[in-house]
């Protein structure tokens, strides 16, 4: 009884303030209108919200792309000292495309793909040499990487713009929905490319180069020789074994063709290789630490798959065991200037490699250690 009375008093004090009547009526109408709108126009409303979201990201992508283009042109002007304005040529370069081979009959596609990629590479190099006549070999490689990053940014922007405009034109919720759903991942990738572009323009080592860094640390101080294609090898004594340490030739931006290099070394030794150890940066899952070192088996190498295929072919022929040591990082770290954690992980990886050698090989054995990755900013 008493409690009920108290409750009534409390209620009237809290909610029955003067002017409530009119206001509550207005509020009720507002709620009805809101329900009506969301019933019949909810999807349309959602469409416009998503469209706005995509548009906002598109602005950002455009900004990133323009910034990338500007940095690339500035780097070319500064390093290449061209006689004429490089801008129109750069703009033409940004629109280059590559058509991958037909895969209806996939037998032998790897060699076709390799050929196409070789042609592309040669074409890019020639173009960069024309753009930047006074750049040396290292700088040509760096500029080529810079332009490739600018190209990727241009492409991402254009694809997102295409779907945005298409969705707007057709008023299709589903086109906009698809693009809105993958947008966070696309933006992450674009930001990664943007920081990569800066790193390439300045010639800074990037996270992806940690494999090359491990190889460089192992081979530093020993005589190196060139092996095909764009790779270097040094013969290094480690724990009583002879190690052929391979990496792409630095310090220009370059990944080389480790597949060809490993094949060459194996054939030089007539297949008498006790084991192959590959070191590469690998994408980490969210929640894993940056710079974590993990071990496994298999050919640890990314890219279009040509090199992995070649390595697997060769080791199958000679039945050589293959081990992999990976250093974990996320996509942003992989292409932006190398983080301290990743740099320090190189020493941990070397410890792992030495352990692996002691466990898996005997004294006097010959082994191959291959550091995979873009060797920009890392000599040997």
């Amino acid at each position: 009884m008493n409690i009920a009375l108290m409750f009534t008093v409390l209620y009237s004090q809290l909610f029955d303030f003067p002017g409530w009547d009119i206001f509550s009526q207005v509020l009720m109408y507002a709620i009805y209108i809101f329900i009506f709108i969301s019933l019949f126009y909810g999807q349309r409303l959602q469409f416009h919200i998503w469209l706005k979201e995509v548009e906002g990201s598109l602005y950002k992508l455009k900004y990133i792309r323009d910034e990338g283009r500007r940095i690339a042109i500035e780097a070319i002007r500064e390093i290449g000292k061209p006689q004429t304005d490089p801008t129109p040529r750069v703009d033409r370069f940004l629109e280059y495309f590559t058509i991958t081979p037909q895969s209806l009959d996939p037998a032998g596609i790897v060699w076709k793909l390799e050929h196409i990629l070789d042609v592309r590479d040669a074409r890019f190099k020639d173009e960069v040499k024309l753009l930047a006549p006074s750049a040396d070999e290292t700088q040509v490689n760096n500029l080529e990487n810079t332009l490739e990053a600018a190209m990727a940014l241009n492409y991402i922007y254009k694809v997102i713009r295409h779907y945005f405009l298409l969705g707007k034109k057709t008023l299709s919720l589903y086109i906009i929905m698809q693009i809105q759903m993958i947008l966070p991942l696309v933006m992450r990738e674009a930001e990664a490319y943007a920081s990569a572009l800066k790193a390439f323009a300045y010639g800074q080592p990037i996270g992806d180069g940690v494999g090359a860094l491990v190889a460089a640390k192992l081979m530093h101080g020993y005589p190196v020789r060139k092996v095909p294609k764009d790779c270097v090898v040094a013969t290094v004594p480690i724990e009583g074994r002879t190690a052929y340490v391979i990496k792409a030739e630095g310090p220009g931006g370059n990944v080389g063709k480790p597949g060809d290099a490993i094949k060459t070394i194996i054939e030089e030794n007539e297949g008498k290789i006790a084991t192959i150890i590959m070191i590469d940066a690998a994408l980490k899952l969210e929640g894993e630490e940056v710079g974590e070192v993990a071990e496994g088996v298999g050919a640890a190498i990314g890219g279009p798959g040509v090199d992995q295929f070649k390595i697997e072919e060769t080791i199958l022929k000679y039945r050589i065991p293959i081990n992999a040591v990976i250093i974990k990082e996320d996509i942003g770290d992989a292409v932006s200037p190398m983080r301290r954690e990743i740099f320090e992980a190189a020493d941990k990886a070397i410890e792992r490699i030495k352990q692996l050698i002691l466990e898996k090989t005997k004294e006097g054995d010959k082994i191959i250690i291959c550091g995979v990755g873009n060797t920009i900013g890392i000599a040997q």
Binding site: F17, P18, G19, W20, D21, I22, F23, V26, G56, Y59, K60, K62, Y63, I64, D66, E67, R70, I71, E74, A75, E78, E191, A194, S195, K198, A201, Y202, G203, Q204, P205, L213, A216, H220, G250, P251, G287, S336, P337, M338, R339, R340, E341, I342, F343, G377, I378, A379, Q380
Partner: protein
């Protein structure tokens, strides 16, 4: 050196300044509504006061929220250049210097001579330091 930022504002920034103006107008209107509501309350016009106070609060909340959002977007729009350090080491006496990265630096590059023993020094490390800001320990 590549200049760090172009002087002309980017299109995204220009759009944001227009939005910013609209938000400020909204904020001013909302604050005016709050004042009017107080006036209406004093003069006994309770229903008008209630309506105005709600409009005022919603206006202030919405505009400050949008303002915060655009500010965040503006901050994130810049491609930031993290400080990158180059460590130079003398192989003979272990003398070490750390300086900012300069174009042309690369790992295992021989640079100027050591101050102590006139030996060529070597770049041994180039990396960027990332400060994880305010990361709470997570149970997973």
């Amino acid at each position: 050196m590549v200049s760090k930022a172009s002087s002309e504002p980017s299109p995204a920034a220009r759009v944001s300044s227009f939005v910013l103006l609209a938000i400020f107008v909204m904020l001013v209107v909302a604050i005016m509504a709050l004042f009017l509501s107080y006036g209406a309350y004093v003069s006994g016009n309770y229903d008008v006061a209630a309506a105005l106070i709600i409009i005022g609060f919603i206006g202030v909340a919405a505009s400050s929220y949008v303002l915060f959002q655009t500010r965040q977007r503006l901050i994130r729009l810049r491609i930031e250049t993290p400080p990158i350090t180059t460590t130079i080491e003398c192989r003979k006496c272990g003398f070490k210097t750390v300086r900012e990265f300069q174009r042309g630096d690369y790992i295992f590059k021989e640079v100027d001579v050591c101050q102590k023993c006139n030996e060529k020094m070597l770049i041994t490390a180039i990396y960027r330091e990332v400060r994880e800001k305010g990361r709470k320990p997570f149970p997973f």
